[in-house]
Symmetry: none
Subunit: 298 residues, 2 copies
DNA sequence: AAGAAGCCGAAAATATCTTTCAGATGTGAG
DNA sequence: CTCACATCTGAAAGATATTTTCGGCTTCTT
């Protein structure tokens, strides 16, 4: 990459080395500074770089020309590009656990990276056949009941909210007793969904069992496809399990994973029932509009 | 990594999306051009870019300012950097919208990709200074009240659950009346957090305003850093805004973005209060163990 | 040591960027 | 429907940055 005609972006360091012998003393100083600290030099004006290298503006421009750029302005742009590349190049090693003394920037980077990983894993591990069957059942369901506690309870609510918005009858339950009470009323044509990462949360297994035994179609969203909850599930959707650490409870990645699954269910159902879902979505959007005051700042 | 103070190199596309709504028509044209073709725009002078977008130099400079740069010159440097990164990175860009007739496998892939993108954008756009300040306030808070409705309400609950687990006093409110009632009881040393994507949800602004006026430290988690809610916020945490489509409501990506922010807050607080947080986490884990039956299948 | 060649930087000339200001455009009240 | 207000917009003036010019200076050769 990078010849003498086209001012190469990355090949700059090499070019400096090649051309250094043919440079005069002051030009070498400039070239050296530029090669040594692209980022720093990119922040300087001609005058700034001239001062920094103890030379003059003219010399800086001459150096830029020698390096193959039309002028200093273009050299500076190339320098900025080079700096950005170097910057991004040394980022990938964030696989380490979050430590107590990590600066916030690292925490953000690691969390974001981990959750991205979780998403990729979940998408890769999802069984399309199971997902398709679950969507079919949901699309045709008379009524949908969703069970989940703690973090999974929020995912359950999220799904319920979404299904409600496209005109389906859906409820989330996090009270174990009420959940069982509710499950008793289900029958064939209804759908029950259990969301539990461990798959062995008694409070969630119980209502799903009851729903299953009353003839409802049952779906389990769990990270453990071999766990007790799956005994009573017609369809099993597997969420991914990322390693956890003290400062990064499993709840985080399991939640991300569960939400993706739930989103997939939602979009799938919305597609299958598009005729009714689209207007319902539009209507609910419209209905909420007046709750938002017009922008004031600006 | 960059926030609103230090104009990040990579976060630019995300920033354009975040700020676009608060821009005037002609500024949007400039922002669009810049986000769409960084490499091409980096090669242009102010006048060139003005011509290309059919606007004036003044507008170009104004846009650069709004994006967080001191002037066009610096925006141009950032553009060059971005172009270089894209060059080496080779973004695959599966940005197609979800269609009604997409097979499920595509739905899963697109959703996962979009959410990954949202995470990256959010992380890149987070202002570390604001985040740090928010964490400091939270770590020292006597009590934390979190306001959010609908999808944001779930995020609010998620944060409350997490803070509770590490021994902080935290509550989430989604009932507007109760939220205001609650906000009245806050005073200096307490923290109030408002979570709203639009930043203009009256039901959420109100309690934050009350909390603010009663001397509590207030934090806004919003996708619109120029929205009304920020008037009453001591610290503003910006979530990213992904384009939405009919089958992919904005709620999805804003939720992902909000959750990442909330996770960062949580981990940050856990770090700062490690002495008490660690045992509390362990204890809550222990307390729930008996709720899980031993694995049966397999 | 004298002369020639070419390097170097101050300052002028040019290009680029920024600011100002007045006209254009849209918006809400009456 | 019209007016008054606020905001947006671009032309041109003003400020910076870059490029060029040009003469002094060093260095090498003979």
């Amino acid at each position: 990459m990078g010849g003498s005609q086209a001012p190469a972006p990355a090949a700059l360091a090499a070019k400096v080395r090649t051309l250094a012998p043919s440079m005069t003393r002051s030009m070498q100083r400039v070239a050296e500074a530029v090669a040594g600290d692209p980022a720093g030099c990119a922040a300087l004006t001609v005058t700034g770089l001239a001062e920094r290298t103890g030379t003059s503006e003219a010399t800086v421009v001459r150096t830029a020309r020698l390096l193959g750029y039309p002028g200093y302005r273009d050299l500076r742009l190339a320098l900025a590009g080079l700096a950005a590349q170097q910057q991004s190049g040394r980022a990938p090693a964030v696989t380490a656990d979050i430590a107590v003394d990590d600066p916030l920037a690292d925490v953000v980077a690691k969390l974001a990276y981990d959750e991205q990983q979780t998403l990729a894993d979940t998408a890769a591990g999802l069984d399309m056949a199971q997902l398709g069957a679950a969507v079919t059942a949901l699309a045709a369901a008379r009524r949908v009941e969703i069970y989940g506690v703690a973090a999974s309870g929020l995912v359950a609510q999220d799904l319920a909210q979404k299904l409600l918005r496209i005109g389906h009858i859906a409820h989330a339950h996090s009270d174990p007793h009420l959940a069982v009470t509710n499950a008793v009323t289900l029958r064939s044509g209804d759908v029950a969904i259990a969301i539990t990462h461990s798959g062995s949360t008694g409070d969630i297994i119980e209502p799903l069992r009851v729903a299953f035994e009353h003839g409802a179609t049952t779906i389990a969203v769990t990270g453990r496809p071999d766990s007790p909850v799956t005994q009573y599930a017609d369809h099993i959707l597997t969420t991914s399990t990322a390693r956890e650490s003290e400062l990064r409870p499993a709840a985080m990645s399991s939640r991300t994973s569960q939400l993706l699954v739930v989103d997939c269910l939602f979009v799938g159902v919305a597609q299958r029932t598009y005729e009714t879902a689209a207007p319902a979505l539009a209507a609910s959007y419209e209905a909420l509009a007046h709750r938002h005051s017009p922008r004031t700042t600006r």
